[in-house]
Symmetry: C2
Subunit: 313 residues, 2 copies
């Protein structure tokens, strides 16, 4: 029995047919075109879903479930996207619209960070765990908290905003209005800003050469220059890892998940990130008497996490 | 049908007979005497429980459940107190011992902060809520997270350590080894330390008079002097409330409980604490699209929270 997972992004909609072992059997995508209106987005999703069915030779009536992962404020209870700036959507009944267009009866919607965390929990880095947290280090710091195969997002479905946990009161300005949010230190955006600040302060740093080679300052710049022995870059990396560990240890002290997985662009640094990060976490972790510690892992599923998570909502 | 709740503290053991409406029908207490050994503590608990049964005219066999709230690292799965400094206990099978001494079959143990949070959830400030958090502002900042009538404490039962969430990286030293923990700003101990620092910096402050009247510097000193118009005291109170709100908003952004209740000595300040606190929370809260916000309430049950929570484990 196949299910369908949809990853609805600002620029593209991806859809996957997922089998009972959570393998992706077939994948399709189309541009989102949000400026053509929300109804048109719902039609695009529906066409993709029916296209997947056609290619797999099943009828939409044979699909018991379809899940949609979407950015912004979602109400999974009503199936509305309440607000999603980059989809230009406000209070839109996406589940109902797609249901009537496809004939698939059971359709649920969830926030994309939560869906990705669910994907990693059921089929990725946290597979087999009872409690897990996924942190995504990208434009922001996204997060999701999974309890026994279900997304936990609180009474109003807006929990799991790990990025907007202040870790340095009065510190760097965050988009949310607060100062010192984890996101303002540990997102790729923050790393790029801190790399630029370090470059401004040290015109002779290797950072400038690396940036010229890459054609831009990115989340990789400081890691590459640090590996070449540049002290200024190493400082940027050390500070980045220190603040990342600070937020992770906070999450562990509160939630003690079996597994905390890290996704997003920065996680591609692999051991260069994970080895010093684990050392810093071990230094800070709250000592307790029962002796089991949360495992920190790199997320496994990449962009498929949202699709597989959506199919498991 | 009565249940028994035990609150096992470092100096005294309290026991309560709790009815089906979570009312305390009878309460007894004895000194803990931890220096006489863990077996003796188990005997004290058992004698109290049997004493309660005797006074209520029921036999221990008619008590379907007894819960024990204890400080330190607890393993609710095995019924062991793994480590509790002020009970001088290490890896002690408290549930088994008390079971064999009383004949009460179903006995569970839980951390005291978690039990208090459960008490407030089932019978106190968070009654009727699906998700709730209780924060206790005392010697430390204790906390408990309740999901649908059950304590959430993660895979190793040590979650809910809200006090050891860093809110100002590199800030005030915490007992746990980290710097800038919420507890280092928002516990009564921290408020007293910050009040003392302000007194050292301002010999003419009303704080000195209030401290002399109270016979000591306490968690009340700054609140009283601020009400009398002292600017130095007001600064202490403002900073205290700012940091308290910071931690609370972090908890809300992560967990979005229906209710977050505040207990412990500082919560006795009532409106003097709650009105400016709510204002600061409203300023910082993450804006979302669904429009329901966590209610912040003062805990209702005082010292009975642990007893009632224990009876509901």
């Amino acid at each position: 029995m196949y299910r369908i997972g949809i990853d609805l992004g600002g620029t593209k909609i991806a859809a996957a047919l997922v089998d009972e072992e959570n393998r992706i059997v077939k994948k399709l995508s189309v541009p989102t075109d949000p400026e053509r209106g929300s109804d048109c987005v719902a039609e695009n999703i529906s066409r993709l879903a029916l296209g997947l069915c056609g290619e797999a030779g099943v009828s939409a009536g044979d699909i018991p479930f379809m899940g949609i992962a979407a950015p912004g404020a979602i109400n999974p209870e009503t199936g509305y996207i309440e607000r999603a700036h980059n989809l230009m959507m406000e209070h839109f009944p996406i589940a109902d619209k797609v249901r009537s267009l496809t004939g698939i009866k059971d359709i649920r919607v969830e926030n994309d960070a939560n869906a990705a965390a669910l994907g990693e929990a059921v089929a990725g880095a946290a597979k087999g765990s009872r409690y897990s947290v996924m942190i995504t280090l990208g434009t922001g710091v996204g997060g999701g908290f999974i309890i026994e195969g279900k997304v936990y997002s609180g009474f109003n479905y807006t929990g799991g905003e790990f990025g907007h946990m202040v870790i340095r009161a009065g510190g760097r300005q965050c988009n949310c209005g607060r100062k010192g949010c984890w996101e303002a230190y540990s997102s790729a955006t923050a790393l790029i800003a801190m790399t630029r600040e370090a470059m401004d302060g040290d015109p002779g740093s290797e950072l400038h050469k690396v940036a010229a080679e890459l054609g831009k300052v990115s989340g990789k710049t400081a890691f590459i220059a640090a590996r070449r022995g540049d002290a200024t870059a190493q400082k940027v990396v050390d500070h980045y890892i220190e603040m990342l560990a600070c937020g992770i240890v906070n999450v562990i002290n509160l939630l003690q998940p079996d597994v905390l997985s890290i996704g997003g662009g920065i996680s591609n640094e692999g051991d260069g990130l994970m080895i010093p990060l684990q050392k810093q976490i071990d230094r800070e972790i709250f000592i307790h008497g029962i002796g089991k510690s949360t495992e920190i892992r790199i997320a496994k599923l990449g962009n498929d996490a949202g699709l597989i998570g959506a199919a498991n909502l």
